[in-house]
């Protein structure tokens, strides 16, 4: 069974790269991935985060004033939209 991850979608590449900078500074684990086409046809990027780190990641992004457009819980090709953090 595929592992569960969270996928954070932002409004622009600029915001994704700001998020990357914020999380690197905060030393929090994440991965940059292409936006999954199942949920968004953009040619952009998204953040992939382990569920255990989600609270800390969300808090760090919010503290930096970053607006997360939407978060999905992903298992393989199954996506479930979470309520706004």
């Amino acid at each position: 069974m595929p592992r569960e991850v969270l996928v954070y979608i932002f409004s622009s590449i600029h915001q994704v790269l700001r998020a990357e900078k914020v999380l690197q500074k905060a030393d929090l684990p994440f991965d940059l991935i292409p936006v999954p086409k199942e949920v968004n046809p953009d040619c952009g990027l998204a953040l992939e985060v382990e569920p255990d780190w989600a609270d800390e990641v969300t808090a760090a992004l919010a503290a930096a004033g970053l607006v997360i457009e939407v978060v999905y819980r992903r298992r393989g090709r199954d996506f479930h939209q979470l309520p706004q953090p």
Binding site: S11, S12, I13, H14, Q15, L17, R18, E20, K21, L32, I33, P34, V35, P41, D42, C43, G44, L45
Partner: protein, 383 residues
């Protein structure tokens, strides 16, 4: 090019810091891919380069949100974007008689095509703008004021904070072609609402780089529309910055160099750069006052200007003087009207113009002495 005394920094700065050359070379050799489109590692490296360049410029201008900076090819494109993206049919705009054609030409076009009323505030030959002239001319239709931060002809520095205060909330568009990287732009919110800059002058970057900072809350219509890598499912341009004002693949290689140029300025300190350029200008102005038949334009107080000094020498046409300086003395200057015919009319130097010497952080006092010696020699020789 070695062996020359480069005094044309107001056009394009030279030499560039080695880090700029290394950054451009690295971008070209290691990750020459499209930023913000694909998600593979080379595209990511390109995206990060563009992002870091934006962050570097934001740090230099003390801008909190770097997404409010949109890239353009140069300051001319940035000015065109702001002017055509803001001014509509019947609007009133204030400007001065010391503006570059990159402001005057789009304004003339807007006057002709959108019936924008362009009011040009006369500025004395010193180039010093009187902020009260702006408040006096405000009308209910005044949509914008546009001024340069420093004149590209005589270097006169505009008191931006006073001009902005005099506008009572009407947005101020600043042409920072000559000041970005040379003068302090902090606090930017008190100096401008929109700021157009170029990368290839005092920011020490390559040509083909520039941008527009837009105060949050102000909306400008784009000059070009197209691919941004975002909101690809829609056929309308995104409305968020910077994508709203950027379309098409940007100059990633140039922006890599620009980021390195701006980092060089941040590491050196803008105050250190200003102090050095002030020293050079002071020495140059002192020396010029000893040369017979030399006509100096603009303020004689170096503190009122950037390191841009235009002159004429009795008995010489500007073009002959510049040519002789180049051919015989390896001194590179710019002769003519410097794309600012109205400023030259005010100075009484129209239509022949003047010879412009412009210095930068890498010019030395020895070079200033060599230029003064050459001018002194030529003042005794008539064509």
């Amino acid at each position: 090019m070695s062996g020359v005394i480069y005094c044309d920094q107001a056009a394009t700065s030279f030499p560039k810091p080695p880090a700029v050359i290394e950054a451009v070379t690295r971008a070209l050799t290691e990750f020459s891919a499209s930023p913000g489109r694909s998600a593979h590692r080379m595209s990511l490296a390109a995206s990060r380069t563009v992002f870091e360049a934006r962050e570097a410029v934001a740090e230099l201008f003390s801008v909190d949100d770097s997404s409010q900076i949109a890239w353009t090819l140069n300051v001319t494109q940035a000015l065109n974007l702001a002017l055509t993206g803001l001014l509509q049919e019947g609007d009133h705009v204030l400007t001065t008689s010391f503006e570059h054609n990159s402001v005057m030409r789009p304004l003339s076009w807007l006057a002709r095509t959108r019936r924008v009323e362009v009011e040009v505030i006369p500025v004395p030959p010193s180039g010093q703008v009187d902020p009260a002239e702006f408040s006096r001319r405000l009308t209910g239709r005044t949509k914008l004021a546009v001024v340069n931060h420093a004149s590209n002809v005589v270097g006169t520095i505009c008191p931006l904070q006073e001009v902005k205060a005099a506008l009572g909330g009407v947005p101020l568009l600043v042409d920072a072609a000559q000041s970005a990287g040379a003068l302090c732009l902090d606090p930017i919110e008190e100096m401008a609402d929109i700021l157009a800059f170029t990368g290839h002058k005092a920011l020490l970057g390559p040509t083909g780089t520039g941008g527009l900072w837009v105060r949050p809350g102000l909306t400008i219509k784009p000059l070009v529309r197209g691919g941004t890598g975002s909101r690809s499912e829609f056929e309308e341009q995104p409305e968020f910055m910077p994508d709203a004002l950027e379309a098409g693949t940007p100059n990633t290689h140039g922006l890599a160099g620009l980021a390195a140029g701006v980092r060089y300025i941040l590491d050196t300190g803008i105050e250190t750069i200003r102090r050095h350029e002030l020293e050079l200008t002071e020495k140059f102005l002192d020396g010029l006052s000893q040369i017979k038949g030399l006509q100096l334009y603009g303020p004689s107080d170096p503190h009122l200007r950037t390191a841009v000094v235009s002159v004429n020498l009795a008995g010489w046409s500007p073009s002959d003087l510049a040519l002789t300086l180049d051919r015989e003395f390896d001194i590179l200057t710019r002769a003519g009207l410097h794309c600012a015919p109205r400023a030259h009319r005010t100075l009484g130097a129209f239509p022949e113009g003047a010879v412009r010497f412009s210095f930068g952080f890498f010019n030395t006092t020895e070079e200033i002495e060599a230029v003064l010696t050459a001018l002194d020699l030529l003042s005794r020789r008539r064509t």
